[in-house]
Amino acid sequence: METLLESLKTLTLNKLRTGLAMLGIVIGIGSVIALVSLGQASQQAIQNQIQSLGANLLTVNPGSQTSGTIRGAAGGATTLTNADATAIQTSPSITTISAVSPEVQKRVQVTAGRNNSNIQIIGVTAAYEGVHKITLTEGRFINDVDNNSLSKVIVIGQQVEANLFPTQDPLGQNIRINGISFRVIGITASKGGTGFLNQDNIGYIPLTTAQQQILGQTYLNTISLEAKSQDVMTQAENEVGYLLLARHKLTSPAQADFTILSQQDIANTASATTGTFTSLLSGIAAISLLVGGIGIMNIMLVTVTERTREIGLRKALGAKKQVITMQFLTESILLTFSGGLIGIVIGIIASYIFSSLSGSIFVISFPSILLAFVVSAGIGVLFGWYPASRAASLQPIEALRYE
């Protein structure tokens, strides 16, 4: 207790130096806390988004497993057809799928009166509404009649409404796509998401109209499937996989010209990506913590050298090695611990500011705060040990003679 007070007094004696010595720890701990916090917030955001898109959702995309994303993204794969979708719906070998939604999509420029906007157009059947859990604020969704009669109707998202119809009710109004007029029949409720994940900057039109009049293609970009429950996801994946292999006259899954992903797969990939990113940044933060620790060691060595006479005198008056060691260890732990404390506060404030700026969730991870406390005290011991034991092993008379 007395040692603690004494150390506190010594440290407050040279405030600038103490502050600078702590800075490395403050920055290190602060960035670890902030990064862990942000990482967890984005993981949670991804999970929420996935859940809102439907946990029972399976997505079949054209393109092989190995190069799926690249070929899929290039839009070159044409292996999924309307017949495939129909087969999944009607085949007796499929027992775990409750709904099938064949889809095509494209980014297009649309106009309404003098307003224009760049939106994602999705060609859908009536099944889309249930599979993707679409809710409407006004009007109705695309139905089978629309598809059978090649209707030129469109259901739009909140963002599209805001961009194209800022002042009037869009229901019954026309939107032009590639010179063709589509009548607005419904408006979807907001699904959230920002940037490329924006679920509100979308227009839904009948699949048949999209394929024949907008895209001029007979193949599909996606088949979305709803499994009967979350427990049969794997079975559903297998059933659909083998049906499509047989239909495409392929013999082994390795040859598959399509990819089946569950929402959980997508979530896992996204989590893994943000996880990698977070651990990379945490690694950098850990290095800054290490540098901070070395800074502490440096300052402590300077302190020991400066106070050589004092140490010599204390030893001459009967201080044992352990007493001297404790004195300097207390100082370095106090340094790193208070540095850690400030770092934690700054880290929390930083992640709070960031989350409120970016509109994401604010998460504090208590285990990481606890860890930060332990780590900062640990750094004090680790990097204070050498200077402290050096002080303790000084010979009293040599130390007293030191100028």
């Binding site: 001459a316 008056l317 009967g318 090695k321 009293p396």
Partner: protein
């Protein structure tokens, strides 16, 4: 009766080696000091008095020779055992005072008692008692950089006495203070020596001061040139001359 005294030194020498130069500070010194003696060590500057005192105080080690302190060969003791002996058996008054500048006078005197694990209240009382004894009862909460050289010397004396050590080693305890105050210090030493039986070894330049002791050892060029009993030590009077 213990024939081997509190201090037994035989064939002691100390050679300093600095940058290829060798300085012989002590050469072949032998003597014994019994419990209860009051010894003055005299000699010209640079004759090796402080060097000898540091070895006697277990702060430094001899180059060759043997030093037995209260029956124990100092050579065989660990750092921590030596620290314990310095703490409990020896009171050391340094020529250069060696007070800690940042803490108060009272805390300076309390320091050795802290290393002995004495509770704070008792430490405070004892330190106050000794500071009053050397006439500094009114300067307890000054830091040692805020008091005069002579006052610092008296704080150093109070600190040397704080643990009530059996052996008091004083390197020029009156070197920086007026003669009336020096008389006072000598009165304290004599009282400790006569009434409480403490052994005192004191370095001094001044024959007047040495005359208060019971035995005078004179060194020159690192050798003992005379070692005489002082049959009639002059009693110092407590004059309360200390401010």
């Amino acid at each position: 009766m213990n024939t081997q005294g509190i201090i037994h030194v035989s064939h002691l020498s100390k050679v300093y080696k600095t940058e290829g130069m060798e300085t012989t500070a002590l050469s072949d010194i032998s003597f014994d000091i019994q419990k209860g003696e009051f010894v003055a060590i005299m000699g010209p500057s640079g004759s090796g008095k402080s060097t000898l005192m540091h070895i006697l105080g277990a702060l430094d080690t001899p180059t060759t020779g043997q030093y037995i302190l209260d029956g124990e060969n100092v050579e065989n003791l660990t750092d921590d055992e030596l620290a314990d002996i310095r703490n409990k058996k020896i009171g050391f008054i340094f020529q250069a005072f060696n007070l800690l500048p940042r803490i108060t006078v009272l805390q300076n005197v309390m320091l050795p008692m802290r290393y002995a694990g004495i509770p704070e209240e008792e430490r405070k009382k004892t330190a106050q008692k000794y500071l009053e004894m050397v006439g500094l009862g009114h300067r307890l909460s000054h830091t040692s950089s805020q008091i005069s050289g002579g006052q610092q010397q008296r704080v150093a004396i109070a600190r040397g006495l704080a643990m009530n050590p059996a052996l008091l080693l004083a390197d020029e305890p009156t070197g920086n203070i007026a003669s009336a105050q020096a008389e006072e210090i000598m009165a304290i030493f004599q009282e400790l020596n006569n009434k409480q039986g403490h052994t005192i070894v004191m370095i001094t330049h001044e024959p007047d001061i040495a005359a208060h002791s019971k035995r005078i050892i004179t060194v020159k060029d690192g050798k003992i040139i005379s070692d005489k009993k002082n049959p009639k030590p002059i009693p110092a009077k407590r004059t309360n001359a200390i401010d």
